[in-house]
Symmetry: C2
Subunit: 206 residues, 2 copies
DNA sequence: GTCTATAGGAGGATAGAC
DNA sequence: GTCTATCCTCCTATAGAC
């Protein structure tokens, strides 16, 4: 009853909790360099000055480590997801802010870009997470656009789900281009320009 | 002088040449399932009813096999690249045709989507190929749009390189979404709709 | 909570016969 | 051109001491 209740909180000692966070940070860095399958958890252990068994005490398997990293990302991005519920124009502008903020954390973007494609592999441990996440973001985005249609602000001859998929595809695709050639890709200007045109095209002409 | 001249042609026996093609096809299928690093060349050998050393006779290392697959893709896509040189509107419509044709070969799209992101990894054997390819396609695309500007058909206040990057990002990103949820993503309709709006937005208003 | 030591397995590549 | 047999390296994970 004291240990088997594995809720989101209720962790061990403060020191262990701190170690846990360190390991998650290091894991993110390692996965950012090589994705999941080609990365070794031994290198993660090395990054935090632990031996391999020492690390495995906190995360029994490599999959556990990956899922913990993904889970933490979910929690951290709740604030951003919250911004998907207001006015449709604000929603799209919010995505521009997310995109801009992402340029400050290329390591995180890198890890998730690689993991995103890698999770297309059958039986990859992250398939579930990315599928669920995609469905959720797409539904929220489509919902925002749909409310714009219902409010008479957005053209009624478009499909909100398709527009949502288009936007997500653009964000993800641009990130890969940006990571490959950062100096030649002004991802902020490109995405802002795209969203500006999209807003203009979606608006009901007055 | 007879063997050391390793030009693009000049292969061994007809039977060997046939085997070579079989192996490349099988390699594509295997990489489509798991990308490069998590795939084993032994499974490729199994697909063509060869032992591992038997396969390594044709491609000495795993990297050689990967590069041969990429090289062949280059040759096969020359026809498509050729279509990037005409009128800017036709160029963009040509991309729609490529996108539509891609829905017929999900295996190839899958392999290249995974490899594309995987090659972001430092020292990945495919970095060079994807970098060169991206630079080439982007330059050709931007060139087409630039000629549209010079012809007075396209607005002069846009950056052709940025628009080119935007389009490539959209194509690549949509492919990942489509591969993850094929039934819920009408990639042809979405990309066609995007290109239609883009053409409209780029046109100089008359 | 962290260590040493080690089991156990998979994958890439080579040597040499046919 | 294809095989059998083998080597070596790297990785995940476990056992058990401190």
């Amino acid at each position: 009853m004291t240990k088997s209740t594995d809720g989101p909180r209720r962790r061990r000692s403060p020191k262990g909790e701190h170690r846990r966070e360190e390991i998650l940070d290091a894991g993110m860095r390692i996965f950012a360099r090589g994705g999941y399958s080609s990365a070794s958890i031994a290198s993660v252990a090395e990054e935090v000055n632990l031996t391999l068994p020492g690390l495995l005490h906190h995360f029994p398997t490599k999959v556990d480590l990956l899922l913990a990293i993904l889970e933490r990302r979910d929690i951290n991005s709740l604030a951003l997801v919250g911004s998907l519920d207001g006015n449709w124009r604000e929603t799209l502008k919010g995505l521009c802010r997310v995109n801009r903020a992402n340029t400050e954390i290329p390591g995180v973007v890198r890890a998730f870009s690689i993991l995103n494609a890698e999770s297309l592999i059958e039986d990859h441990p992250a398939v579930g997470w990315f599928s669920t996440r995609l469905a959720g973001v797409r539904e929220r985005l489509a919902g925002g656009i749909r409310r714009g249609v219902e409010a008479g602000e957005v053209r009624a001859d478009i499909f909100p789900e398709d527009i949502a998929a288009e936007i997500i595809g653009m964000m993800d695709g641009l990130q890969v281009l940006w990571l490959r050639a950062p100096g030649q890709t002004d991802i902020v200007a490109i995405f802002d320009g795209y969203i500006d045109r999209l807003i203009h095209d979606l608006e009901v002409k007055s």
